[in-house]
Symmetry: none
Subunit: 128 residues, 4 copies
DNA sequence: GTGGTCTAGACCACT
DNA sequence: GTGGTCTAGACCACA
């Protein structure tokens, strides 16, 4: 029985990424309640504190808001904010590294364009 | 006093990447001696053990060889080996992730390739 | 959809403070009826139990009295009692802390009293 | 045996305030190492995670920086940053509330100025 | 029901 | 030596 967690990144961060992905792809909409800490902890067989930590980072970054005694909710404007900030980070941080790497390895753009385009296999984060 | 080291990746790994980059771009050629552990440690203000660990991984992967009493040297065939293995890793691990990310963010691959061509040199390593 | 409630203090306490402020400034006079729990709950979109808890604390401290079947009323003598107890608390608990903080930050008490006199109405409660 | 901790605020936050106070009053200077997580945990008889959490918030706010494998250090510029941000917060958030409170209670400025000035007794944070 | 905090103890990676 | 992460379990405040 393999778990869904990758060993290289902390679970709380992987969980955070999952939530972000769900907001980006619309499976969590603004105003929706996040599944409760306890629920997620039970579903994924992890410690509630680990879930809490993931959620807390989302709160700190204003993508999620706490309602006392009620739970956590996707903030108004979260998906726009998220899309903007993630795009910004990609275009100005990740993408330049990719370009540099392509150049460093002397790879051919056209080949990259074509070969794995049709399959777009599920990427696994982490490579340690 | 800012350092050249990124906080997100271990220093020994960043150092290893530096050496790999130097082999790939030809500033270290096959048969060349690597700068001594002590020298590097002094230059970068880091612990010699950290340098050793970086070098050791390069030895383990056969890109560098130890000559007892003399130092570390770039192995014969290292640059070819490196190029092949790094290309392999890029095409099958990194690139699919990049494609997935682009799709997730709704970005356009072709635009990315065209627009920021002039500035892509300021990439900072990190994020491992 | 922003709420009037501050996240740092419990809602029931913020509500209690509101009532106290109304008694102190005369908008609720001795003998006046407090708005019903249900009414307040509906007006502010909060749980009736939360309103009850705020009211109950006011009852416990003798500023408000319950009349069975009728509702809650501001006690006779409440405003004097309140003024005295709140002043006591301010002078011996809050004010010394403020002085300590001013000293810690190297600020000048007199300047503070003089300059921003016109704007001091925009204070938000919270920080408990 | 009473502890130094106040019951109303979480320990990690009280600890964070202690560190901030030490930076403000100069007992921790820029570049100084913070006492290690384990050391503080042992000294105060608290869990290392609790200490970690306090330190982490200071890192997130750029007052403290981590050096991998070495420890935590007061950032360059931390004391200026801190003084500026704390003053800002005091003048624009805490002080207006104090003024409003003074007005609400109908207190006399001159009395406040004089009575507790000489003693400046140690304020205790928290009042729950 | 919700989340927040703390403990005790374990294991890991890094320098 | 340093900090980071996770667990299991407890207790608390809030709605």
């Amino acid at each position: 029985m393999t778990t869904i967690w990758n060993d290289s990144a902390p679970i709380y961060r992987q969980l955070k990424e999952k939530v972000i992905a769900m907001i980006l792809d619309g499976s969590l909409k603004e105003g929706d309640a996040l599944p409760s800490v306890r629920q997620v902890a039970a579903d994924f067989q992890i410690n509630p504190i680990t879930v809490s930590r993931a959620y807390q980072e989302l709160v700190d970054e204003n993508f999620v808001e706490k309602r006392r005694g009620l739970g956590m909710y996707v903030s108004e404007g979260a998906s726009q904010l998220l899309l903007a900030s993630e795009r910004e980070r990609f275009v100005h941080e990740e993408w330049p590294q990719v370009l540099a790497r392509i150049e460093q390895l002397g790879l051919d753009l056209k080949q990259l364009f074509e070969s794995p385009k049709s399959t777009h296999q599920k990427a696994k984060k982490g490579k340690e």
